[in-house]
């Protein structure tokens, strides 16, 4: 207990000092803007900001990048409600009931409720991060290569089969990501793999270039020329019209609690993040509702639960990231890449070796969420105006920042061609419903999973049973098998019948 208290004090001391506080503010503000604007998501924004953080102290850098991530979860619902177009993919379900509410003249109420439930979901999950991350890290200190291999496998499988759509496509994309991650120099032997004699390929594809291609450029190509809705209800947003009635308060509170719990659980799973959490939370609300037909017509439960869930998941994603070094989500995976670039070794030793970084980051979540509450309730009018920027002027500007951003990551023109390649691949993947987030997760975990696979076998003279005889490793493998089989079952039954 006293350890927790001293951690909190250490963290507050860091998070409230001038530089981290400033970058927390920058992060959540950028996050809100990016979240509000459809067509640019947290992944592109974080990859874009990544080269800028090379010059910062690592704690401030991570505080800012994290702020962008959870800040987008707040902003994302604004466009869903006013434009019927999700500002970020994780707010897609909020359209279903948010837009009907706006049409009924309740836009202000919907914006208020989503900001508030977002805050509740985040707070719940931050408490879990504070309580559980140090405990899990303690257990994970005993991990050997076999456990690492198994937990990463769990992350990869969860990321691919839990997402909506075909589990085979998800799995294919995660394996494709692993394959891409192995391009470049083999860390064990120094051998060049898949470099084709290109000098720049010796280090493999750059993380920033792959992420910005798959998420930034692909998103832009897909959005060009797409029909846009018109913003409704933006003029009638006053503080008075925001406040829910007593009946509405009663409708909000239980769904928010349920959403927070689901979101935290999904977010804490390695590989599964806010997008999946919000879909699951919505599905559950529809199931427990006494009158499910209200959903899709402007049910306030239909916005409170998913918004609590996606924020809770965004914060809870830091549990596996900070305690095991296994990213809880593709966006957090990029943050993990940022840590490595800053010379910080993610893993169970992180909290012990860098207590100031861990507690500073976690306490900055509180600071950031309070700032977001201010940004998203009294100041909402500013962000709503952003929605009137025409997209045909916005996307060429974003492309310039993407190009100079990847160039700055390693001062090479080659990276610009890589970003284009993955932009086109990402666009085609969208067209055919192949999810992009698993590719990125596989790309980042690929080299790590290979290394631990080889190390585990080297230590046991090639005995594959090491993965099954160590109990924690076995537990992860059983969980992986469950995640693998569960979504396939209904399909297999269909095959048996047909």
């Amino acid at each position: 207990m006293s350890e927790l208290l001293s951690g909190i004090l250490l963290g507050l001391n860091k998070a409230l000092s001038l530089e981290p506080l400033f970058f927390c503010f920058v992060g959540v503000t950028v996050g809100t803007v990016v979240g509000v604007l459809p067509g640019i998501g947290p992944l592109a924004a974080i990859s874009l900001a990544l080269p800028l953080t090379y010059y910062l102290d690592p704690t401030s850098a991570l505080i800012m990048l994290a702020g962008i991530f959870y800040g987008t979860q707040y902003g994302g619902s604004t466009a869903s409600i006013l434009l019927n177009l999700p500002g970020t993919a994780t707010s897609a379900v909020t359209c279903l009931d948010g837009y009907p509410l706006a049409k009924q003249g309740k836009a202000a109420l919907a914006l208020f409720v989503t900001a508030l439930t977002s805050f509740v979901g985040s707070s719940f999950a931050i408490l879990l991060v504070m309580g559980f991350a140090p405990l899990i890290a303690e257990v994970a200190l005993e991990f050997s290569a076999a456990e690492y291999f198994s937990v990463m496998l769990l992350g990869l499988i969860a990321a691919s089969t839990l997402s909506s759509g075909s589990p085979f496509k998800g799995l294919a994309m995660v394996v494709f990501g692993v394959a891409l991650g192995l391009f470049g120099t083999d860390t064990n032997t120094g051998a060049f793999r898949f470099t084709f004699g290109i000098l720049e390929m010796a280090d493999g594809f750059g993380l920033v270039a792959v992420a910005m291609g798959l998420f930034g450029v692909a998103e832009i190509i897909a959005n060009i020329g797409a029909p846009r809705g018109t913003v409704i209800g933006a003029k009638e947003i006053t503080f008075r019209s925001m406040l829910p009635t007593r009946k509405e308060w009663r409708q909000v509170w239980m769904p928010t609690a349920r959403g927070s719990v689901i979101g935290s659980f999904i977010g804490a799973l390695p590989g599964a993040g806010p997008g999946i959490a919000s879909f699951m939370a919505y599905a559950l609300e529809k199931k427990v509702a006494s009158d499910p037909s209200r959903f899709g017509q402007g049910a306030i439960e239909g916005i409170s639960s998913p918004e609590a869930a996606n924020n809770a998941a965004a914060q809870a994603a830091f549990i596996p990231t900070l305690s095991l070094g296994i990213p809880g989500d593709a966006v957090v995976a990029v943050m993990l890449g940022a840590m490595i670039l800053h010379g910080i070794n993610p893993g169970p030793n992180l909290i012990r070796n860098e207590p100031e970084l861990f507690w500073g980051l976690v306490m900055s979540f509180w600071v950031g969420n309070f700032l977001l509450l201010v940004l998203n309730i009294p100041l909402i009018g500013i962000w709503v105006r952003l929605l009137s920027i025409p997209y045909h002027l916005l996307y060429p500007a974003i492309l310039v920042f993407i190009c100079i951003g990847v160039y700055a990551a390693d001062n090479s023109v080659f990276a610009i061609y890589v970003v284009l390649l993955f932009g086109v691949i990402g666009y085609l993947m969208r067209l055919f419903d192949y999810p992009a987030a698993p590719v990125l997760l596989g790309f980042i975990l690929g080299p790590l999973i290979e290394e631990n696979f080889r190390r585990a076998l080297l230590l046991t003279q090639g005995n594959l049973s090491v993965f099954l005889t160590r109990p924690i490793s076995l537990a992860f493998l059983i969980l992986s098998a469950l995640f693998l089989v569960a979504p396939l079952l209904p399909r297999l039954r269909g095959i048996g019948r047909g």
């Binding site: 394996v175 394959a179 450029v217 500007a397 100079i404 700055a408 284009l420 932009g423 080889r454 080297l458």
Partner: protein, 150 residues
């Protein structure tokens, strides 16, 4: 099998995955594969390539009997974005950041049919100056703002 009720595009996508997996596995065998005790640089990629090829088949298997899906494939956005990015890559180090950014914005802006030239040019100049201030003067990215041919 009725060709009108078959999603050939879906099969083609699955085939691309399978062929990529096979190519990847084949390339992996040109590196030292080793054994379980001492896995070489080709060992893990060989497994991954094989797995990818199988998953391509699984996707194809899943697509059987499904009616074709309408896919909104548009060449214009791809062509505009691609030509803009290639132009930026060619110009950034030779002509400098400012001309590269302006060309990128104008070319990629053509992806949207109803764009206005004047506002696009205004955005181009604004972003070129802002980007130069932020990245070149602010962060020291080693690019010239404008470089005249010698």
């Amino acid at each position: 099998m009725n060709s009108r009720n078959t999603d050939w595009q879906e099969y083609a996508a699955a085939a691309v995955i399978t062929f990529f997996g096979l190519w990847y596995a084949a390339t992996a065998t040109t590196y030292s594969v080793g054994s379980l005790i001492n896995a070489g640089p080709g060992y893990f990629p060989l497994i991954i390539g094989g797995l990818l090829a199988l998953l391509g088949l699984a996707v194809a298997f899943e697509a059987r009997g499904k009616p074709p899906e309408a896919r909104d494939f548009r060449l214009r956005p791809i062509a505009a974005v691609a030509s803009g990015i290639v132009a930026f890559a060619l110009l950034a180090e030779t002509a400098g950041f400012v001309p590269a950014a302006i060309v990128l914005i104008v070319l990629s802006g053509l992806g949207e049919p109803r764009t206005s030239w004047l506002s696009l040019l205004a955005v181009a100049v604004f972003i070129a100056v802002l980007g130069a201030a932020l990245f070149i003067w602010g962060l020291g990215v080693p690019l010239h703002t404008i470089r005249f041919p010698q």
